[in-house]
């Protein structure tokens, strides 16, 4: 039957008037599943990349200050919502490669997330502090949740909810948008100067890293009355530790082999924590201060990049043995790594070499390079379907 249908389609395609074909060729490509966007921080542009072709296929310009920019995707993987440092929230269309909406929603912002139904975009702001929530279609303001603190670690939580933490006041909050009006609840005091937070991919645990004191805070979001629990009480920076030239990111906190993998803050180490007991099980000495620790999908490996000045290197660690199995030097100022959703390859941005380097994750061979202007974050559209982003 399939073959019949296929044959019929072939015939009908052949039967199309020839003049239709050029029009088809000019149309934007019609699927976005293997596309991605790369933040070009210095020029305020996004490079559109095609993962299958290992190539760039376009550029979207005019997005303002994109230092520390991140983005998230609509459920149909057509639109990206870009959170700029300058408070800009920009909606771009992957198909037409153009900006379809842009607002300046704050003076200074740090990131955001899309709700599980794709209808709401939440942005976490530094100045003025707080969270703003927008309609994903129109970018109209839906809710303004002011605060007197810089907000960090904003995540989407299943059930039309968002959670975030506050740098200055050390609190965590949840906003529930499942009813007619949003309901904001304080989840508790989480510790001094939380620098980032992340939601486990099962939506179970909201983990918060602290800069101002030792320890990590976990909040069980499956619990009817979630409360912060402190663990790893000797984790974190002390006076005698090494300087931290770049804040670690926790979005990459890997969850693998029943463990959390955390970047030591002020130590050139990874910490491995048993997920059930919340006890440290091992440490791995590393090349530098870890920034991102990202699990290679479908494997026991995590990939790690480092803060300046040791940021030309990426290391691969086996979560079973806690040992470094490979050290790579993709280029100058490695800022981010993004895996193909099934893990076969990884794209790495080397900001000061103005390129993306693509590695085969099994052989660690370079599969290709793509020129990009000061690239930082790399975001494949498969992120559309991941909880927490």
């Amino acid at each position: 039957m399939k073959r019949l249908v296929f044959a019929a389609m072939t015939v009908s395609l052949l039967a199309l008037p020839a003049l239709v074909l050029p029009a088809l060729a000019q149309d934007p490509c019609c699927a976005t599943g293997d596309l991605g966007l790369v933040v070009e921080r210095a020029t305020g542009s996004l490079l559109v990349i095609d993962r299958s072709d290992r190539a760039s296929i376009g550029r979207i310009e005019g997005l303002g200050d994109l230092s520390h920019a991140s983005l998230t995707y609509s459920p149909d993987e057509r639109f990206a919502f870009v959170f700029g440092r300058d408070g800009g929230l920009t909606k771009v269309d992957m198909l037409t490669r153009s900006i379809v909406g842009r607002i300046m929603q704050a003076g200074n912002s740090i990131g955001g997330a899309i709700s599980d139904d794709g209808r709401l975009i939440a942005v976490s702001n530094y100045e003025p502090g707080g969270v703003k929530v927008f309609d994903a279609d129109t970018l109209a303001l839906v809710a303004d949740i002011p605060g007197n603190s810089k907000t960090i670690g904003l995540v989407d939580v299943p059930g039309h909810r968002f959670a975030w933490s506050t740098w200055d006041s050390g609190e965590a909050f949840m906003a529930d948008f499942s009813g007619t009006d949003p309901v904001v609840t304080k989840l508790g005091d989480v510790g001094k100067n939380p620098f980032d937070a992340v939601l486990t991919d099962d939506g179970h645990t909201y983990l918060i890293g602290l800069f101002g004191e030792k320890g990590v805070t976990a909040i069980d979001l499956w619990d009817a009355n979630p409360t912060p629990v402190r663990f790893l009480k000797d984790y974190g920076k002390t006076k005698d530790d090494l300087p931290v030239y770049k804040m670690p990111h926790l979005q990459g906190w890997a969850f693998t082999q029943g463990q959390y993998v955390l970047p030591a803050v002020g130590q050139h180490e990874l910490l491995w924590v048993n997920r059930d007991t919340l006890q440290e099980v091992a440490r791995t000495p590393m090349h530098g201060q870890p920034v991102f620790i990202i699990a290679q999908p479908g494997s026991p490996y995590v990939w790690v990049n480092f803060a300046t000045p040791l940021n030309d290197t990426v290391q691969v660690v086996d979560s079973r043995t806690h040992r470094v199995v490979k050290t790579l030097t993709p280029g100058k100022a490695v800022l981010h790594m993004e895996f193909a959703p099934r893990g076969a390859e990884v794209w790495i941005s080397a900001r000061d070499d103005n390129k993306l380097v693509i590695y085969d994750t099994r052989t660690w061979q370079v599969l290709g390079e793509v020129a990009s202007d000061s690239p930082s974050g790399i975001f494949f559209t498969a992120r559309a379907h991941r909880t927490g982003l």
Partner: protein, 101 residues
């Protein structure tokens, strides 16, 4: 007060004016300011996790004090000491670069 005392050797080193920084090194320093300082203070230096470093924001700060903050960081905050990576003259160059002196 301790800060002021710590400043003295630096003042002696850098007064009356900072040593010349070679053009190629200056270019690297500018890159460090925009990219590495920029990761906390914003690429346009309008602030982020760190305070704004625009010329306006620093109008009332003196260059020597800024150089010291760059070199030794601010204890109890996320500002790290850059002394392991740059010289005192280079910190002074960055301070003046920020103030556009």
């Amino acid at each position: 007060m301790r800060n002021l005392l710590a400043l003295l050797p630096l003042l002696m080193l850098t007064q009356p004016c900072a040593a010349e920084i070679a053009a190629d090194r200056a270019q690297i320093l500018e890159h460090i300011v925009l990219q590495d300082c920029g990761s906390c203070h914003g690429l346009t230096l309008k602030g982020g996790l760190g305070r704004p470093l625009t010329t306006d924001a620093l109008a009332h700060a003196d260059a020597e004090g800024l150089a010291l903050i760059i070199l030794d960081g601010v204890p109890g905050t996320a500002m790290p000491p850059w002394r392991p990576l740059i010289t005192e003259d280079e910190a002074m160059w960055i301070a003046r670069y920020l103030k556009k002196d």
